[in-house]
């Protein structure tokens, strides 16, 4: 889900609701200052959080663009890599070519991880958005509680039953540690095996080099200290041939040793490459979870937003009906007087109106409770 696709969500959170709260609700707001303050405070917090979340999404997108610049999608890169799997690790390939192949796998894995970070940042935005919308819903439900205390016993029981559905939450565990886990894996490989590969290969080459220079030095020394007679020379040359032959064999054995070590290093690189592919699988599973979460949270958030809008309409109408502006017989004070005289605080028809509000509150709580 790209950040442009998130615009409707942001619109829901920061245009529709505040507009509804500050515009359409003006009448309610005048009657209920604490409600206005609470909603405005939630909106402020939500706006700050959303700005931070959008920044994080943009950063993650920039990183993903940087990592995959000039290349196709990570999947295409991986499939292309798959078509050349055998390359780089053959007997005649140098250790460098195997390293290059492994590095290519690292670059692809980092692309997957960068895209995963985008999904995680988007999921965080949806998650925070949900919690702020939920908070708004709770403010409305709290307002209703004040009215409910004035309901008759029968209606209050109904209200409590609706309320007792409880306010749950949606939650999903997204493995935010995966990218760092992958990076740690690569770093570990680099720190341990990588340097040991490099060390092994350069050590063997150094040893071979040392051996060869030693042979050269021996020849040089023997020549300098060699005998003068032909016989002495022959003895000297025979000894030299014997020693040099042994040295060459030793050097050849060392070359064999270095080939074996290189081969082992290639095998280890190949194993590390497989580990990377396994990690990509994990990263993709997690990204799928994050995307599923975003889609579901978006659905719940929008529905919750619409329900708040509908609830607000009923709430406003009900308040206007229960406490009309220019009717002194229906003020709180007048109603309390009537209550003291043994008459109900609300009439039956008024209670029916309130119950519509209770029903709407039930829908609010059901969205808050909706299973992911």
């Amino acid at each position: 889900m790209k950040s442009k696709a998130l615009l409707p969500v942001l619109a829901t959170a920061f245009s529709v609701l505040p507009a509804m709260v500050l515009g359409g609700l003006s009448k309610t707001i005048k009657q209920s200052r604490p409600l206005e303050k609470k909603l405005a405070s939630i909106d402020n917090k939500a706006a700050k959080k959303a700005r931070k979340n959008v920044e994080e999404i943009e950063l993650a997108e920039a990183e993903f663009a940087r990592r995959s610049r000039g290349r196709s999608s990570p999947e295409k890169m991986l499939l292309d890599f798959k078509s050349r799997l055998g390359e780089g690790y053959g007997f005649w390939n140098s250790l460098e070519s195997a390293k290059e192949k492994y590095n290519e796998a690292v670059r692809i894995a980092r692309c997957f991880v960068a895209r995963h970070k985008v999904s995680i940042a988007e999921a965080a935005l949806f998650n925070d958005d949900y919690w702020f919308i939920r908070e708004r819903a709770l403010v409305y439900v709290d307002e209703l509680k004040k009215v409910s205390s004035k309901l008759s016993v029968r209606e209050r029981t109904l209200f409590d039953a609706a309320k007792e559905k409880g306010l749950g939450n949606i939650n999903v565990r997204i493995d935010r540690d995966l990218p760092s886990e992958l990076e740690a894996g690569i770093a570990r490989r680099n720190a341990e095996s990588w340097s040991s590969f490099a060390k092994n290969s350069s050590d063997s080459l150094d040893r071979i080099g040392d051996m060869m220079s030693f042979v050269g030095e021996s020849v040089q020394q023997k020549r300098l200290t060699g005998g003068n007679t032909k016989m002495e020379s022959n003895i000297f040359l025979g000894t030299l041939a014997f020693e040099a032959g042994g040295m060459v064999l030793n050097a050849a054995s060392n070359i064999i040793g270095s080939i074996v070590e290189n081969n082992k290093a290639k095998k280890e690189l190949k194993e590390a490459e497989l580990e990377l592919v396994e990690k990509i699988d994990k990263v993709e599973a997690d990204r799928l979870k994050a995307e599923a979460f975003c889609l579901r949270a978006d659905e719940i958030n929008k529905s919750l937003g619409k329900t708040i809008e509908a609830y607000d309409k009923i709430f406003r109408d009900t308040r206007a009906l229960l406490f009309p502006q220019r009717d002194p017989s229906k003020t709180h004070r007048a109603r309390r007087k009537m209550e003291r005289r043994g008459q109900p605080y609300f009439t039956e028809s008024e209670e029916r109106e309130i119950m519509d509000l209770v029903k709407a509150a039930g829908f609010l709580t059901s969205f808050v409770d909706a299973k992911l």
């Binding site: 799997l85 014997f242 064999l249 095998k267 699988d281 709407a360």
Partner: protein, 140 residues
């Protein structure tokens, strides 16, 4: 390796030692060198087999993960697009109710909306992915 191969190997090995001995003047060194050579052959074969085995695993994993997640993402998108259309219709009903102050319309719209949104689409999705992974999807 059959008996003849073993004989050949032994003969070649002995010839090799003789040659190396002639070159170096030491049977011990020649033997050591040829042993190393044989070990190298074994190591190369072992590595080749191991690398091929890893290649096969990688090949399977890459194929699986690219196609599997592609299908999952498409399925998710299609599921939510379908639900989105229905949800939008209920939004329209609720909007109409708000506009005309028709409480029945509002509550009716909310009721239908809740019946869809409360139901998690992931139950079916989980069932699908389990069948997909087990290869037990019914034929289309």
């Amino acid at each position: 390796m059959n008996e003849n191969d073993e004989k050949d190997l032994t003969t070649n090995f002995q010839k090799g030692i003789a040659l190396m001995e002639a070159a170096s003047g030491s049977a011990e060194q020649a033997f050591g060198f040829l042993s190393n050579l044989v070990d190298l052959g074994k190591e190369i074969t072992r590595s080749k087999v191991e690398i091929r085995r890893i290649d096969a695993m990688e090949n399977y994993l890459i194929t699986k993960l690219t196609y599997q997640y592609d299908i999952y993402h498409k399925l998710l998108a299609a599921t939510f697009a379908e639900r989105g259309k229905t949800i939008e219709k209920h939004f329209t009903v609720i909007d109409m109710g708000i506009k005309t102050s028709d409480r029945e319309l509002i509550l009716g719209g909310l009721h239908s909306l809740a019946s869809i949104v409360k139901e998690s689409p992931f139950t079916n999705f989980e069932r699908f992915s389990a069948a997909f992974n087990a290869g037990t999807l019914p034929p289309i």
